[in-house]
């Protein structure tokens, strides 16, 4: 007579689709009379369901850092590069190669050029205004000079 653990091992095989057909009848006959082994079947299926939950969650949230290994394989002769990849060392940002499409590269270059032109135009426009302001400050700081006859309301000369 088989023990409960032997039937439960069959349950484990059954849920994996690995049970032999010849064991099926004995297992199902036992399950029909043993609540504890039925619970084991139910709990094993629930365990699988919880594990699958995590798999599905991981599929939607994990973003893999995908650095192609073919580069490392193609430079096997270059010892340093291979060692860096093998040892998991990350390349510095300055030496990292960025792959973008031609259209993206063109767009980025145009943006940089336009931004540079805009910034230089703003500074060019602001330049003279700043100088004017400085001049005003300079003039205002001079001592006041009164010139006779400069005032049209002043009739002292005629008198």
């Amino acid at each position: 007579m088989m023990k409960h653990d032997e039937y439960r091992e069959l349950v484990s095989e059954y849920i994996d689709g690995e049970m032999r057909e010849s064991d099926a009848e004995g297992l199902f006959r036992h399950l029909s009379t043993c609540g504890e082994c039925r619970d084991f079947l139910k709990d094993s299926l629930e365990l699988r369901s919880k594990i699958l939950d995590e798999v599905l969650l991981a599929r939607t949230t994990v973003t893999e850092p995908f650095e192609t290994i073919t580069t490392a394989l193609s430079v096997q002769g270059t010892k340093k590069s291979t060692e860096n990849v093998a040892s998991g060392k990350r390349r510095s940002f300055a030496s990292r190669r960025i792959n973008v499409s031609f259209a993206t590269a063109l767009g980025l270059t145009s943006l940089i050029v336009i931004a540079t032109l805009l910034i230089s135009t703003v500074f060019w426009l602001r330049g003279p205004a700043a100088s004017q302001e400085e001049r005003v400050v300079y003039v205002m700081s001079l001592p006041t000079v009164e010139v006779q006859g400069a005032n049209p309301n002043d009739n002292s000369i005629n008198q």
Binding site: L47, K50, I51, V55
Partner: protein
């Protein structure tokens, strides 16, 4: 256009097409990494083992006789990398007859959170001998024959370890089952 099969990619790589290995890498890397991560419980170490495994695979795939065994072959390479890491760091004690837990018993460990997280935590507490067969079965849907090819054990040993891992997990996690995760 249909994606190439593993067989086609291996044949193309053997013929000198390096792009083919890039496709195999893209196809298997997340899964190989996940397997390493489940065993090592450390993302940096898992990353290192995965990279090393793919470098080795790239150098030796030419000698692979049957492309159909590619998956088992890849997983066996990363498993060897993980075992080598365990050997270097002297982690993971020897397997004892009825002990499936790695170090402290899960009963000493108070865990809170969603049931899914608790299940993952408990799987992480299994000894690697049990964890690896469970991960290969549940995450990779491998048959007992394939798992045996990865681990180098007999199918009956795989079957027995899977049962013990499930039995231990079900016993520990029973209070959490039936709750909405």
């Amino acid at each position: 256009m249909h994606p190439s099969t593993d067989d086609q990619l291996v044949l193309r790589f053997k013929a000198g097409d390096r792009e083919a290995f890039g496709e195999l890498y893209a196809r298997y890397r997340p899964r190989v990494y996940r397997f390493a991560l489940k065993l090592l419980q450390n993302s940096d170490q898992a990353e290192d083992c995965t990279q090393e495994a793919f470098l080795k695979a790239g150098r030796t795939v030419g000698g692979l006789l049957e492309a159909s065994s590619l998956r088992a072959w890849l997983f066996s390479i990363v498993r060897n990398e993980v075992l080598e890491h365990f050997r270097k760091t002297r982690r993971n004690g020897q397997l004892t007859a009825d002990d499936v837990w790695n170090g402290k018993s899960p009963h000493e460990d108070v865990v809170t959170g969603e049931t899914t997280e608790i299940v993952q935590h408990m799987i992480g507490l299994l000894k690697s001998e049990y964890r690896e067969v469970l991960v290969l079965r549940e995450y990779e849907q491998m048959s007992y024959t394939e798992i045996a090819a990865v681990t180098g054990d007999s199918e009956s040993s795989v079957k027995s370890r899977l049962f013990k891992a499930r039995k231990a997990l079900v016993k520990t996690l029973k209070p959490y089952f039936g709750k909405k995760s």
